[in-house]
């Protein structure tokens, strides 16, 4: 997994709470293969981004020239609630978004972002609102995220500390692989399983 340390990128203000993963990627695209040739970027926010004829909706934030290249989203509370589809993360990543700043996240989506080396940064509701106001006032402005310092620096240079569990922070900084971390501990796992299944033989 690609480590995440710092990121300075154009940030798009997404002024909406409860953005569910059905919105991030509608279900009909989940059957699509994802490989080096075909990413999931065309599907990101598809039905908010495009009209019935497949034409861009000019009002949608990522269709505006200043935010087309966004690498960060600043969203409302409960970002990524709903379906567990990891396609939502693939669509964000393939579009070029590596961090989402929001007051809270859906649990499964939060884990999915971390699993893919994306940073879900939790900042208080008022700070998120303030950031969105700054970005609206200055379209195309960048935010700077510093994971070691756990800060988001806004457009006027003020640094806001964000929350992340130390365990997840370490994972992101080092780009650690979960499976690798498990397989290093195989003897402990096997002895657990032997004991456990001796007690519950019907599960073995």
């Amino acid at each position: 997994m690609k480590p995440f340390t710092t990121l300075t990128a154009v940030a798009a203000p997404f002024d909406m709470a409860n953005i569910d993963t059905d919105r991030i990627i509608p279900v009909r695209f989940l059957r699509k293969l994802r490989n080096d040739k075909a990413g999931y970027d065309p599907y990101l926010f598809h039905d908010m981004r495009f009209d019935g004829a497949g034409k861009e909706k000019p009002d949608f934030v990522l269709n505006q020239p200043a935010w087309r290249q966004a690498g960060i989203l600043v969203a409302g509370a409960n970002f990524g609630c709903g379906s567990s589809r990891e396609g939502a993360v693939y669509a964000l990543l393939d579009y070029g978004i590596r961090a989402v700043i929001a007051p809270s996240f859906g649990d499964i989506h939060y884990a999915n972002e971390l699993q893919n080396g994306m940073l879900p940064a939790i900042l208080p509701e008022e700070i998120c609102r303030g950031l969105r106001e700054q970005l609206q006032a200055e379209p195309g402005a960048t935010l700077a995220i510093d994971l070691p310092a756990q800060t988001v620096t806004d457009t006027i240079g003020e640094a806001h500390p964000f929350m992340i569990d130390p365990v997840y922070k370490e994972r992101l900084l080092k780009g650690l692989d979960d499976i690798g971390l498990v397989l290093e501990r195989l003897p402990a796992i096997e002895s657990f399983e032997n004991r456990y299944h001796a007690d519950k033989p019907w599960l073995a």
């Binding site: 909406m16 709470a17 409860n18 569910d20 059905d22 919105r23 509608p26 279900v27 009909r28 989940l30 059957r31 699509k32 994802r34 039905d47 019935g52 409302g76 509370a77 409960n78 609630c81 709903g82 379906s83 567990s84 589809r85 990891e86 396609g87 993360v89 809270s104 996240f105 859906g106 649990d107 499964i108 989506h109 884990a111 999915n112 699993q115 893919n116 569990d165 130390p166 365990v167 370490e170 979960d178 499976i179 971390l181 498990v182 397989l183 501990r185 402990a188 796992i189 657990f192 399983e193 456990y196 007690d199 519950k200 033989p201 019907w202 599960l203 073995a204």
Partner: protein, 469 residues
């Protein structure tokens, strides 16, 4: 005396293999379920040259992409080439990895969250995972069951464990007794309306209280199913005799001496008196009416006697903004009585309300009546379809003019052409009313099977208690 523990505490502690710095544990996973949508995880696993470590603990079922019509043609009945490919890919991945597979033609096929309990794969005290958010359903049998994304699913396939931080606990107590016509679906919609779609984020919910205890296994499965709609990591109900009776004799349930041993272990699982939860919420079940959603979030739900709310009167700025947008999408005006809303379509099925009790409840309303709108029923599993046919329920639906289809996810997530056309309004027994969930521009009202059946008869939202007494 050890300190009192919750059901969740007990299951968690029994599954901790080891702890890492920072409070993360490695958790043993008992049962893992996969469906066609799991192809990303299998693909990544193969790419990394890894194998499924404990294939006997994973079960595969085709549900999301199987068509509900033309099933006699097997995989070829799926109109869409991508869907056919995914159904075959699951079979292939299962074969290569030595995983039990319930394919499109298998008598055990059904929606993953219906067949887990139905086959006894789900049991009290187990950790159950699936690459699907509604895995919370299985908690109704007293399991800790939760959904994961593809990467975590890959980790479970490769290792049979998962790194996890301990979630918090929330006890939702529903006291009193339910009046006639009020079901598990109404209970859970009322809970979500009260605590909100993010109300249980980071928490595992244990549902307790007289109302929950009085619910059938089907009713509990419905309640736990929608835990994720309150943001919860999982939902669970303490196991009791109803659960043990339900499980006895099922294909993957323990047998003989194992059964007795399991029973002893299961009986020790319920939350001890005095155990501490991080939070607690209480509802009075006696006050509950049939519920339905008016907006585009499961928390935007009200009793059937209510009117469409004025967004300006709602809680916080986020809710007001969401409600205003929801009313525009749903084409509804504040102040309209919910029972004045016309309905164009109905769907009875899904992992929320596609079980036998749900089909019986809908049939009881439709018996001797005629459908005023197009509607279909998709039973939660192939076995349930046969059971319902043996009970004559299919005849009741067909006589009423309601289509009787095969089992699958169907219209819950607009699969295989089972979509609601843009602008039309659907009474649905599923779990999500998000914009576009049942098709682009589709308008969804979530409700119980009995309420959906009442809407089928009248073509509008109807208090089922006025239709049948």
């Amino acid at each position: 005396m050890p300190s009192p523990q919750t059901l969740f505490d007990k299951i968690w502690d029994q599954h901790v293999i080891l702890r890492r710095d920072g409070g993360e544990v490695l958790l043993h996973i008992d049962r893992n379920l996969v469906h066609e949508g799991s192809f990303h995880a299998f693909g990544a696993l193969a790419k990394e040259g890894r194998k499924v470590r404990m294939p006997r603990q994973t079960f595969a079922v085709a549900d999301h992409y199987v068509p509900t019509l033309g099933r006699e043609r097997g995989v070829d009945g799926a109109e869409d080439a991508d869907a056919r490919h995914m159904i075959r890919l699951l079979e292939e991945n299962s074969r290569v990895n030595g995983i039990a597979h319930f394919g499109i033609d298998d008598a055990r096929q059904g929606i993953v969250h219906v067949i887990g309990p139905e086959l006894g794969i789900t049991q009290p005290g187990l950790t159950v995972t699936c690459g699907d958010s509604h895995t919370s359903t299985h908690g109704a049998l007293g399991a800790f069951a939760f959904g994961t994304g593809a990467s975590q699913l890959k980790q479970i396939l490769a290792t049979q464990c998962l790194w996890m931080k301990r979630p918090k606990t929330l006890r939702v107590i529903v006291n009193g007794t339910l009046s006639a016509g009020v079901t598990g679906k109404d209970v859970v919609l009322a809970i979500i309306a009260k605590i909100g779609t993010a109300g249980a984020t980071g928490h595992v919910i244990e549902y307790a209280g007289a109302v929950i205890r009085s619910l059938s296994i089907e009713g509990r499965l419905t309640v736990c199913n929608m835990s994720i709609e309150a943001g919860a990591r999982a939902g669970m109900v303490a196991p009791d005799d109803a659960v043990y009776q339900y499980l006895h004799g099922r294909e993957y349930a323990p047998k003989g001496a194992d059964w007795d041993r399991a029973l002893t272990q299961w009986r020790a699982l319920p939350t001890d008196d005095g155990a501490r939860f991080d939070r607690e919420v209480t509802l009075d079940g006696t006050q509950l009416e049939p519920m339905l959603t008016w907006g585009t979030s499961p928390e935007e739900a009200l009793p059937v006697s209510a009117c469409v709310p004025d967004p300006q009167t709602l809680g916080d700025a986020n809710q007001r903004a969401h409600a205003a947008q929801a009313l525009a999408y749903m084409d509804l005006k504040p102040g309209t009585a919910l029972t004045d809303i016309r309905i164009d379509r109905a769907f009875i099925g899904s992992c929320t309300n596609g079980r036998i009790e749900d089909l019986r409840a809908a049939a009881a309303v439709l018996k001797g009546r005629k459908a005023a709108i197009p509607a279909w029923v998709s039973p939660g599993s192939t076995a349930l379809k046969l059971q319902a046919e043996a009970e004559g329920l299919d005849r009741i639906f067909k006589d009423a003019g309601v289509e009787w289809r095969a089992s699958g996810c169907s219209s819950c997530a607009a699969m295989n052409g089972d979509t609601v056309p843009a602008g039309l309004r659907c009474a649905s027994t599923s779990n999500r009313n998000f914009e576009g969930r049942q098709g682009k521009g589709a308008r969804t009202h979530l409700m119980s099977p009995a309420m959906a059946a009442a809407a089928i008869v009248t073509g509008r939202i109807t208090d089922v208690r006025k239709l049948v007494s």
